[in-house]
């Protein structure tokens, strides 16, 4: 079957790439999926890191690591051993706390302590590090750049920030590049003679800046200018680094994996995402659908199905349910599940048709009480990779949960 073939391929996608970027809308289980992919990497003998912005620190709990330790230590081997697993590789979670990650980046790039302190105290910088559209993306990218440079890991799984405009992540390097463009910078530098000198610049720009200044009050503009003046020396290093990440993302070393559900709204966004990727000439390497429902085949007649099934229940259930409302609920619930599963099946077919036939598409069934701990991640991993190793994993997981 084609679907079976697609599923086993996910393992080879992971095996063939050094960087795996998980993209998708918010709330689809992206963080957990990224962690499970990374877990698989460790089990396959890779030195694996998973980079994620994990505000709830849930992943940290999952891995049994100290969330305040951003440096990242490998998951202790005992965690694996508790589930009868003996990975030949390692798994390290790097959890990013956004504002402090920016501060760390500034500290890394600032040539002197004085410049560092001036930037950190700048209100424009403080605003930028917390509010600047895409600042999550920059920090994730910067972390990725450091990791690649270090060379400690041979598999890096990146969990991207949730985005409606999913391409924010991809376009972040170019945007930053543009933002840091020297000509742009010049506009914001404080002229030695004060703001009146603006007239020597492009007239429109000067006029605009004056008007904005009138409207906003001078303090805002002065701070922006101060920020750029201070940061000037740091820009070149910063920019070059992002250029390298940009090249890495576009290279053969990187696989983009879309994480989605089969909900209509989420899929609309996923479809948009495919179009955007196409525009950038980036091929999607796999798609993972979380929380899916499977349709049961109904042999009985479609007419009056609710009545038929309710009667069937009252005839066959053992022990019999005393209350008819309970039987009715069971049937209604089943039919609702069928409707949902049917809608999903149609959307799945449509969506997978728009993909290349070699792109693995994996459907993960809905887990009541979806992975909240390490065993949940192992379980998810076993569903993701339905290979012999995956089946073995699942067996181990089941044995464990029975104990």
């Amino acid at each position: 079957m084609r679907e079976k073939k697609r599923q086993t391929d996910l393992a080879s996608v992971i095996a063939a790439h050094r960087v795996v970027v998980c993209v998708g809308s918010g709330g689809v289980g992206k963080t957990t999926t990224a962690a499970s992919l990374a877990l698989w990497g460790a089990l396959s003998g890779r030195q694996t890191a998973v980079v994620t912005i994990d505000p709830a620190k849930r992943l940290a709990d999952c891995f049994g690591i100290d969330p305040t330790n951003v440096q990242g230590k490998p998951v202790p081997p005992e965690m694996f051993q508790a589930y009868g697993l003996h990975p030949t590789g390692t798994l390290t979670a790097l959890l990013i706390d956004q504002p402090s990650a920016w501060d760390a980046a500034i500290a890394r790039y600032a040539p002197t302590a004085e410049i560092r302190d001036r930037i950190l105290a700048n209100r424009f910088y403080q605003g930028l590090s917390r509010t600047f559209a895409g600042s999550h993306e920059y920090i994730a990218l910067d972390t990725l750049a450091s990791l690649v440079q270090q060379g400690t890991y041979d598999l890096i799984v990146v969990d991207t920030p949730p985005a409606r405009q999913a391409l924010d992540f991809l376009e972040a390097p170019q945007r930053l590049q543009r933002f840091l463009d020297s000509r742009a910078r010049k506009w914001f530098l404080r002229p030695p003679g004060g703001w009146n000198i603006l007239s020597v610049m492009n007239k429109t720009t000067a006029f605009l800046l004056r008007k904005i200044e009138e409207a906003t009050g001078i303090s805002a503009l002065a701070e922006i200018s101060d920020f750029f003046t201070t940061m000037q020396e740091m820009f070149d290093d910063f920019g070059e680094r992002f250029q390298r990440v940009s090249a890495l993302l576009a290279s053969e070393d990187t696989a983009f994996i879309l994480v989605s559900t089969l909900e209509e709204e989420v899929l609309t966004e996923a479809t948009q995402f495919l179009t955007d990727l196409d525009r950038l000439a980036i091929a999607l390497k796999a798609v993972i659908f979380n929380r899916t429902h499977e349709e049961a085949s109904l042999s009985s007649a479609k007419d009056n199905v609710e009545v038929t099934l309710t009667q069937q229940l009252s005839r066959t259930l053992h022990p019999p349910l005393m209350s008819s409302s309970h039987r009715e609920w069971l049937v209604k619930n089943f039919l609702a599940h069928q409707t949902l599963a049917h809608g999903e099946a149609i959307r799945f077919a449509q969506f997978s048709n728009s993909l290349s036939s070699t792109t693995p598409c994996v459907r993960i069934p809905i887990f009541p009480a979806f992975p909240g701990d390490f065993s949940g991640l192992i379980n998810l991993s076993s569903y993701l990779f339905l290979s012999p190793k995956g089946r073995k994993l699942r067996r181990k997981h089941n044995e464990n949960s029975k104990q």
């Binding site: 849930r58 930028l128 509010t131 906003t216 042999s299 259930l317 053992h318 609920w329 619930n333 949902l340």
Partner: protein
């Protein structure tokens, strides 16, 4: 009508905060539909170029220059706006010369400024909300809108919108400082304004909601409204009760399989419902009234689904209107 909703109906400006993916837009649109059914002139404002709310209501995509509210029904209009649009409009007030304005907006310096100025976009967008709240009918001088519902972006970002007037009030002088004062006093007016929270029974969403409440109520000291819990599963039987059931000895194997399937689905639903109840426990500590939205198993999610969901906000007064045909029915003012 739930008392919590009756209290919201007395206000003028409702903000909705929630993690990405919890169905915030669904909740806002349902609530807006429910309010419009009460005969309230309702304006739904979304800060998003994606215009998801407009899409859910089946309105065509916004044209680039469309800055005015669009009407969905006589009592419900939708305004899709964003920071870039708001800033441009604001500049139009300062620079009335059209060609000059266009030259500026198209200049690279402007593009950088929009991207770089911390919080200016957020502030001006809030300014636009303030402006819509102030709109009066030129003839009757009555407010143009009875109630405004604002669908804020995902939590982290939406708090910045709520925070910005406060920050700007401290940081900026000039016109912006003045504007932020006015916006801030509207935001803090508990008679008029309420910040509402949207969550699902998902661990991450729950912890984000706790954090958001903390920030809104304690740090920003803004008036709070209702906690909407979306996508709730419901089971009439417990997992234990279903576990005890078997398909029994039935006439055919096929029949037995169907019964097993029914039990399996019931079991799943019960497990979900029970897990959700546990996940939601931390939210019980919040002093917020709750409105619960059921999980909607609809095969297609469209305006009729949303209409169904809107009954979770305000239940229909008499019998539900005869079976949903899947066709859009124009919401009509309730006969009170």
């Amino acid at each position: 009508m739930p008392p919590a909703i009756a209290a919201l109906l007395q206000k003028r400006l409702l903000f909705f905060v929630g993690k990405g993916g919890v169905g915030k837009t669904t909740v806002v649109v349902s609530t807006a539909l429910a309010f419009a059914r009460q005969g309230k002139k309702t304006l739904l404002i979304e800060f998003d170029e994606n215009t998801r709310a407009a899409r859910l209501l089946g309105l065509p995509p916004v044209e680039k220059d469309c800055r005015e509210p669009r009407s969905f029904s006589p009592s419900l209009s939708v305004l899709s706006t964003g920071g870039a649009v708001a800033l441009e409009e604001y500049l139009r007030l300062i620079i009335p010369v059209k060609p000059l304005l266009r030259a500026i907006v198209e200049s690279r310096a402007y593009q950088y400024f929009v991207a770089a100025a911390p919080g200016l976009k957020e502030l001006l967008t809030m300014g636009k909300v303030w402006y819509e709240e102030r709109k009066r009918d030129p003839q009757t001088e009555q407010p143009l809108w009875d109630i405004l519902l604002v669908d804020l972006p995902a939590t982290g970002h939406s708090l910045q919108y709520l925070q910005m007037p406060h920050a700007a009030h401290e940081a900026f002088g000039g016109v912006v400082g003045y504007e932020s004062d006015r916006i801030l006093s509207l935001l803090r007016d508990a008679e008029k304004t309420a910040i509402n929270f949207v969550t699902t029974a998902d661990e991450l969403a729950v912890s984000e909601t706790q954090g958001a409440y903390q920030q809104v109520a304690q740090e920003l000291r803004l008036p709070t409204g209702v906690l909407f819990i979306n996508r709730l599963h419901y089971a009439l039987l417990s997992t234990q009760a279903i576990n005890a059931l078997t398909a029994g000895s039935s006439t055919s194997q096929a029949e037995q399989r169907v019964v097993e399937q029914i039990l399996k689905c019931g079991q799943e639903e019960a497990m979900l419902a029970e897990a959700q109840a546990v996940t939601l426990q931390p939210l019980e500590a919040l002093p917020l009234p709750t409105i619960r939205f059921p999980f909607s198993p609809a095969a297609r999610f469209d305006v009729s689904t949303i209409e169904q969901l809107s009954h979770a906000v305000i239940p229909l007064p008499v019998k539900p209107t005869a079976n949903a045909t899947g066709k859009r029915k124009k919401p009509k003012p309730a006969t009170l």
